[in-house]
């Protein structure tokens, strides 16, 4: 790709970007949110037309006008949000749009399934073409997406932040898969902002910043194997991405502030199905990290604390008061704030404007509402503008719809809104999922600041590094229960791994959940 420029009104998303990928290699594309990675790949995949510049394949200039053109040229893309139909089987999903026909015009699914099984075996996908997509775990669905691109004849695969939603074990599986693809001559473009993944996986990396190419780097085995050079390279790439040195991880403040006051206490709490019984305490001034493989009850735990999921056994206490039967609203009013793990699903309404989203959860209280009869748009806009200014959200007008913000800025808005509740208990579920380095550092420092002022934080994360960096205590969830507890200073990765996978349920959340349901009843 040469001299690719893409202008949107008011924004230059790509500015004369040159980007070359060699065949049979894995090429990393690094950059912060809004650096222009996705735009560049959309140009390559024909989803948007460049304002200037050309795309060449094997030295010949080509015109990519649509995704179909791209597929014909052997370019496949796996988007962050999957485009699979849950009620269809893997085979049915894959043939969609190019259905193989028997004589007489009937759909030949058997042949397709056989083709897919062969393809799957060749690269070690571990996918049964006859399983229903809706039954598969996230990691498996992503493999189906990759398989789909290959089935359509893709030689070059573009993966847009493929690890954002994956558990550590699933990431390892994906890495293995991509290496096998490379060994068989396929080319992979790996978009990410996770430095260590890029270093471990890619042969070469291009860093974008502010729509321009900041630099290229070859990555050799030395960088992968030697921890010191690994870290040095990571620091260098981070500098290229952010444009300056990264802030240090927030300083750990232990001891004096950790009062013995429980802001949250779960006693043998359970939902009667997938969760519990759970005993858990979060004290004022501490961060409790909840680790575990995705689907082992973390989501349910958060829902129960917030009050969306009914607690059918045991009790939930907030600051010494039994709130087991309290509604979400009452709990929020006692000083609970919550970053939802699924931002679009549970934290924002992206069709409404910033002001409405900033007011979410505040709508019934002064100064936004007077006696429930009047809603002050001025105060709502003031709140949104305040969140934007105070927490560095990049936004033009607070009357723009939320979807005009990038994902990182949407998350900052959510974090700012929740911090403005002045929480005593802060429930943060995957607070940095999909965020770039600077935005994640922002969230981390805010969590640390909360601890400093004596709030309790329940941090649920799939990223162990995040938990290790922040938490005062670590609990591991497996099968809807707490499998063990430790502290970052004496953490032992083997033990953690054993707790996380308890009973060999790795990557099989269904099995784990079924086990939990069985255990609970």
């Amino acid at each position: 790709m040469r001299g690719i420029t893409k202008r949107y009104p008011g924004v230059v998303a790509n500015d004369a970007v040159d980007f070359t990928v060699e065949s049979a290699s894995i090429h990393g594309l690094l950059g912060e949110n809004g650096a222009g990675k996705s735009t560049l790949m959309k140009v390559l995949f024909g989803l948007t037309a460049p304002s200037a510049g050309t795309v060449e394949i094997a030295g010949r200039p080509v015109v990519v006008d649509s995704a179909r053109d791209a597929l014909d040229l052997g370019i496949g893309m796996v988007q962050q949000h999957f485009s699979l139909i849950g009620d269809f089987t893997v085979a049915e999903n894959l043939v969609l749009g190019s259905e193989p026909l028997q004589r007489g015009g009937l759909l030949d699914l058997d042949r397709a399934a056989a083709d897919i099984a062969a393809l799957s075996d060749r690269y070690g996908f571990r996918i049964d073409p006859r399983s229903r997509v809706g039954d598969l775990a996230v990691g498996a669905r992503q493999r189906v997406e990759i398989l789909k691109a290959l089935y359509r004849g893709a030689e070059v695969l573009i993966l847009d932040e493929p690890t954002a939603a994956l558990a550590p074990t699933e990431v390892a599986e994906l890495v293995g898969l991509l290496r096998r693809l490379r060994a068989q001559g396929r080319t992979v473009v790996f978009i990410s902002h996770k430095l260590s993944e890029v270093i471990d996986l890619c042969d070469r990396v291009t860093v974008l910043r502010g729509g321009r190419v900041e630099g290229h780097r070859e990555i050799g085995p030395a960088e992968r194997d030697d921890p010191e050079r690994h870290d040095a390279l990571a620091a260098e790439l981070a500098r290229m991405m952010v444009g300056h040195e990264l802030p240090d991880p927030p300083e750990r403040v232990d001891g004096p502030e950790r009062g013995g006051v429980p802001v949250l206490r779960l006693s043998a709490a359970g939902d009667g199905r997938r969760l519990g019984p759970i005993d858990l305490e979060v004290q004022a001034g501490e961060i409790v990290g909840v680790a575990g493989v995705e689907g082992n009850g973390q989501t349910e735990l958060v829902e129960m604390v917030v009050g969306v999921r009914r607690c059918r056994a045991g009790s939930v206490h907030l600051g010494g008061t039994d709130v087991t039967r309290w509604s979400v609203r009452r709990r929020l009013n006692t000083g609970v704030a919550h970053i939802a793990e699924d931002r679009h699903g549970a934290a924002v309404a992206d069709g409404l404007d910033l002001a409405h989203n900033a007011t979410l959860g505040f709508q019934g209280r002064p100064p936004f509402s007077r006696r429930g009869l009047w809603l002050s748009l001025v105060q709502m806009r003031r709140l949104a503008r305040g969140v934007v200014n105070r927490f560095g959200v990049q936004a033009v007008a607070v009357t723009d719809p939320l979807r005009s913000l990038s994902g990182g800025n949407q998350q900052k808005l959510v974090v700012g809104r929740e911090l403005s509740r002045g929480p005593e208990l802060f429930v943060a579920a995957q607070p940095t999922r999909g965020l770039d380095v600077a935005a994640a550092a922002f969230v981390h420092s805010e969590l640390a600041a909360l601890r400093r002022r004596g709030a309790g934080v329940l941090l649920v994360s799939l990223e162990l590094t995040e938990i290790l960096a922040l938490a005062d205590r670590i609990v591991v969830m497996s099968g809807g229960r707490i499998a063990g507890e430790t502290s970052p200073s004496e953490v032992d990765v083997t033990t953690l791994g054993r707790w996380m996978t308890g009973g060999g349920a790795v990557g099989e959340p269904e099995a784990a959940a079924a086990g939990a349901a069985g255990a609970a009843t």
Partner: protein, 419 residues
């Protein structure tokens, strides 16, 4: 932004107590409004600076201009698309639209007739729009207006009291009956997840049958004319306001209710909850808004407006309850709400346009010699144009992602943004 992300002064967020654990913390109960809430909220509000409210006026002007443009373009597109069909029906568009104009706008009587038809359409359009804002599709306005009409008729016939009170009570009875008719779909949706489209349609048929049963010869409400009740007492009539036409006070009531709906949707916490549940019910739940409660409230309010539709027709236009008095106002209301982009002002404009079509239809038949069903065709084309517009803007949003002003996936959220 500050790239460390550490807001200045984060260390002493609680100036009063510093970072020390609070002495009273041991016994601190989970009071429902806790101390640091106000402080933190105030800090955020203070960060806003002063230049917040200023942009509102220009925003509003832009929004209104844009909405008006879209409205006119949609209507014109429908009229243009209808032209070939008018030719196929054996007339020509100029004669036909001329006839429509003569029948609806040319002079006092035609204009009054337009307003008479507009009145129920405005109520009904508001009913549909309110439900849409909460993500509900109320197709049951037709049934709700029948229920409201019956109730208003009964109160109008059998009570006797001072005129304004009688009118008011009859209207309220109509609203209550409409709400009652919407209660079944509301409850089934909230507690059993049954889709409201199914249940509201079914409730329509129940209403039609009940109406027939009551006014048939020998029925409980049998009157001196077949398929109708006794006339309501004169104290229950909505007075005529523009002699010698049959325009009645209902249009004024409708406009007042439209203003109230606007206020409710965009300027009260209740309306905020409605719109939030419509935009994202899960996010609403996670933030302490009970979506079930909103579903019931929105459906009842929508049903009450549907009931008023019928009550106003009965008390203002017919002065008695007639079986099948509505020529499909409840169904046209859906088109009205969509053309009006769910905004009460837009709904008022849309109901005027549909009222105009309805009033002009007789003249269309007389002057242009084509069936009055042509106006149904035009209504259908308007809905098609609204749908096409949503589809187009959605595609535009997908192509130019990040340009703001995007289109939503759901009609309800898409249409419900402006104010």
């Amino acid at each position: 932004m500050t790239d460390t992300g550490n807001p200045p002064g984060a260390d002493n967020v609680r100036p009063a107590t510093g970072s020390e654990p609070q002495p009273a913390a041991e016994s601190r109960p989970a009071a429902e409004s806790h101390r640091s809430m106000t402080a933190e909220l105030q800090r955020t509000l203070d960060s806003a600076g002063s230049a917040v409210a200023r942009a509102a006026a220009t925003d509003l002007a832009q929004g209104v201009g844009r909405a008006a443009l879209i409205f006119v373009a949609t209507v014109l597109a429908a009229l243009v698309l209808a032209a070939p069909l008018i030719i196929a029906a054996g007339s020509d568009p100029i004669t036909a639209y001329g006839a429509l104009y003569d029948g609806s706008l040319a002079g006092q009587r035609p204009f009054a007739e337009t307003l008479v038809s507009m009145t129920p359409l405005l109520f009904g359009g508001l009913a549909v729009a309110i439900a849409f804002h909460s993500g509900l599709f109320n197709i049951g306005v037709e049934g709700q207006l029948v229920a409201g009409g019956i109730a208003a008729g009964v109160v109008g016939i059998h009570m006797s009291t001072w005129a304004p009170v009688h009118v008011l009570l009859s209207l309220l009875a109509g609203a209550a009956a409409g709400a009652l008719w919407a209660l079944v779909p509301a409850a089934l949706k909230a507690w059993r997840g049954v889709h409201e489209v199914i249940t509201t349609i079914m409730m329509n048929f129940v209403a039609f049958s009940v109406s027939q049963f009551l006014v048939k010869p020998g029925g409980a409400l049998e009157g001196e004319i077949p398929t109708g009740t006794e006339p309501v007492q004169s104290t229950a009539e909505l007075p005529r306001i523009w002699d010698p036409t049959r325009l009645h006070l209902g249009i004024v009531v409708a406009l007042i209710v439209a203003a109230a709906c606007w206020y409710f949707i965009y300027r009260t916490p209740g309306g905020y909850r409605f719109r939030l549940v419509g935009a994202n019910p899960v996010a609403a739940r996670f933030n302490g808004i009970s979506s079930n409660r909103v579903i019931v409230e929105a459906m009842l309010l929508s049903g009450a407006l549907g009931g008023l539709t019928g009550a106003v027709e009965v008390l203002g236009t017919h002065r008695r309850f007639l079986d099948s008095f509505s020529p499909g106002y409840g169904f046209d209301s859906i088109a009205v709400a969509l053309l009006g982009a769910l905004h009460p002002v837009g709904v008022a404009a849309a109901s005027f346009f549909f009222g105009l079509l309805r009033a002009g239809s007789t003249q269309l038949q007389l002057e242009a010699d084509i069936t009055r069903d042509m106006i149904t065709v035009i209504s259908g084309l308007v809905v098609a144009c609204v749908a096409a517009r949503l589809l187009l803007s959605r595609r535009a949003a997908r192509l130019g992602r990040g340009q703001g002003r995007g289109a939503g996936l759901e009609v309800g959220t898409r249409l419900g943004q402006g104010d």
